[in-house]
Amino acid sequence: MLVVRRLGTALPSVAGVIVVTFLLTRALPGDPAVYFAGIAATQEAVEQIRHQMGFDRSLPAQFLDYLGQLAHGDLGTSLTTGQPVLSELLTRLPASAELGLTALCLSVAIAVPLGVAAATRPGSLVDHACRIITTAGVSLPTFFTGLLLVYLFYYLAGWAPAPLGRLDVFSTAPPRWSGFYLIDSLVAHDLDAFRASLAQLILPVATLAIFSLAPLARITRAAMLAALGSEFVRTARASGLPRRRIVFVYAFRNAVLPVITTLGIVCSFLIGGSVLVEKVFAWPGIGSYAVEAMIASDYASVQGFVLMMALLYVLLNLCIDIVYGLVDPRVRLEA
């Protein structure tokens, strides 16, 4: 029931996104017809291309066209790569998702224990370490961390493979099953490909994890501090419950809600917003695709990207709501 109701409330936002992206892409500076007509184009050539692209028609007519195409699942054709936008996004999404989700797992694995440890021993060495790591994490721009890691581990030490995207040049991609190379290579029993793709993942994942563990660790620490200072924890302590039980069952379970919210935000950022990291590591993800499309005023690709991201956000929020319900019975009761 909750799921259906939540989906219902998401519909207006999706409709809004469709209208706004359509209008915003039309408001982008730059004239795609001039851009694609080439260096030596005459005025007639530009007009001809404008006509071919349908940009000489009125905005409402273009919008109706666009809606009609959407209804058929057609997101149009990218002008920069010449390929259908939908298929490009679908081939690129797993690349971003594999990178983002791996980074998310890594940063959760580090940030949550770190935050809990910092909160249970305020003012200790762990607490200071947590503060330093989070401050460094948010203040170092990802492209800088990425380039630094490449310089140290590839250029100087030679440990990491060349930053050439998802696979080194001489490996072949495993047959597509999920689009995640780590999973696909295991499905295909191709250990070489698994190792190669894992090796390619290490540096970009580390870059993203360093950036994303900061908000997670901070929120974990803050929420844990609040929970540990609350009355029910005091009562639990007074009742002589073991410390371990107090921290992990009573305090942590209550502190986990804001952490999940932050996790949702960080996750969507990691999938869609890791543009700079994708650029540095020549990662064929959707972030770098969207930026290139934006630079070329490539309407169809930008619209497709924003629409897909909006749908992803809606899905992600839905998942978070469901997890909320599992963690916190109050949410279920209110519903």
Partner: protein, 533 residues
Amino acid sequence: MKRRDFLKLTTATAAGGLTGAHIRPSRAQSRKDTLLIVSENGPNNLDVMGVGTNLQGSEASWNTYDRLMTYGVKKDANGNDHYDSDKFQPELAESWDLGDMSVTFKLRKDAKFHDGAAVTAKDVKWSLDRAVTVGGVPTFQMAAGSMQKPEQFVVVDDHTFRIDFLRKDRLTLPDLAVPTIGIFNSGLAKQHATDKDPWAMEWLKNNEAGSGAYQIEKWTPGQELVYRRFDEWKSGSLPKIQRVIWRMVPSPSNRRALIERGDADVSFDLPPKDVSELAEEKKLKVVGTPIDNCIVYIDMNVKTPPFDKLKVRQAIAYAIPYQKIMDAAMFGRGVPMFGGPAEVSAPVWPQPTPYVTDLAKAKQLLAEAGLADGFETTLSFDLGIAVTNEPICVLVQESLAQIGIKVALSKIPGANWRAELAKKTLPMVVNLFGGWLLTPEYFFFWNYHGQNSLFNTMSYQNPAMDKLINAARFEEDPQKYKEEIEGFISLAFADVPRIPLFDPFLDVAMQNNVTGYQYWFHRRLDYRPLAKT
């Protein structure tokens, strides 16, 4: 997969991953026959006649398609291989016979397309018909060589093909050797043509139908292009490299790291600073060739006051910090186009202007123009090539401030750049123009002619200039031709609506074991002569 197997597998690989981050690929056996190229961008279309095909698309086409003929190769001043615009060499045509108003080609009888079909005169006609019909760049390129109508292209027999001239044009033959005019497999293309798309533009965008030395094995737009050698290629000696992998690496520092570490064989589009450092270190082979018929310049819009005054334009030309630009923005990766002789004495382009940095003279000229207190203006540049444009503009800004001119810098995104140029309202711009065809009048026709094309950013219209350019285009008397060219160059320097700065280098960095690099006018890589020793 059984659960137990899966667990074993995952623990084994996780252990493998953890024990060493040094899991570097060790598949070196195919390295010698494989060339790995890295550059910033790749092709957006495999069809060189397509709508909006970029320069990288020309590289793909150049290596996968053949043309009727090609240019020869000579040594340049630095001993590097350089295409020779004065010499034609057979490619698909074995020989040709240049008549008064037509040229007849004898086609190679053993040439085959990648699918095994023989190359015939029908294919040549289909391809040239396509170029003059589809509109856009290819049609314009054909018109530059006075090829405008399908009726000009005649199939005599299977292996004989004739082009009838509309008029005598010295660019007709050179035009047949540019990437735009590759020969398509018409039989294959027609299978994919539709009523709406008679020239198979859609299919050829993603598929190649050529007879060139390489065929495309795999193309992932924006990521990678992999070629395989076509072993039955007959239009030249068989290339040494069997496989070419072209990867797109957007970050310039990583392109540099890749080539320095020896992982990439050839790196294109490196910023001048990196190139000059690599060249100094001498660990790699770095070849920089001044781009033919190309300059980077500053334009002043003569329709916008105060640039309508000649003295103001001259003052600016004397206030440009030329040498600083060469040193601090270009790191020496260009040929200076300033400080030349006072009189134009050779019919060559580009050549240095007589201007040098002389702030006292600039101030005096500005005072004579009635603007002793200076003025305010805007200098615009293309953010797409901000690596060199931005430092150039900052240096110009600093220098002009010393003669009282306040310059605001305006950064225009790449997609917007041409549209802004087309409006002709920008008072000052930094830009670049390079012509594929070498003649000075070709450059001037696009840049200084009163037809006011997109590249005449200065909106310069002068009947005397137009007369000289028009005359030179179809001149047959060599002496007169020389005078006309020197005439329009002198006029361009005297009126100075445009201030040439330098002729940039086309820089390529490669491993020492890569041999056979040739500079081509299309500024992209020809894989065929390359080898790894």
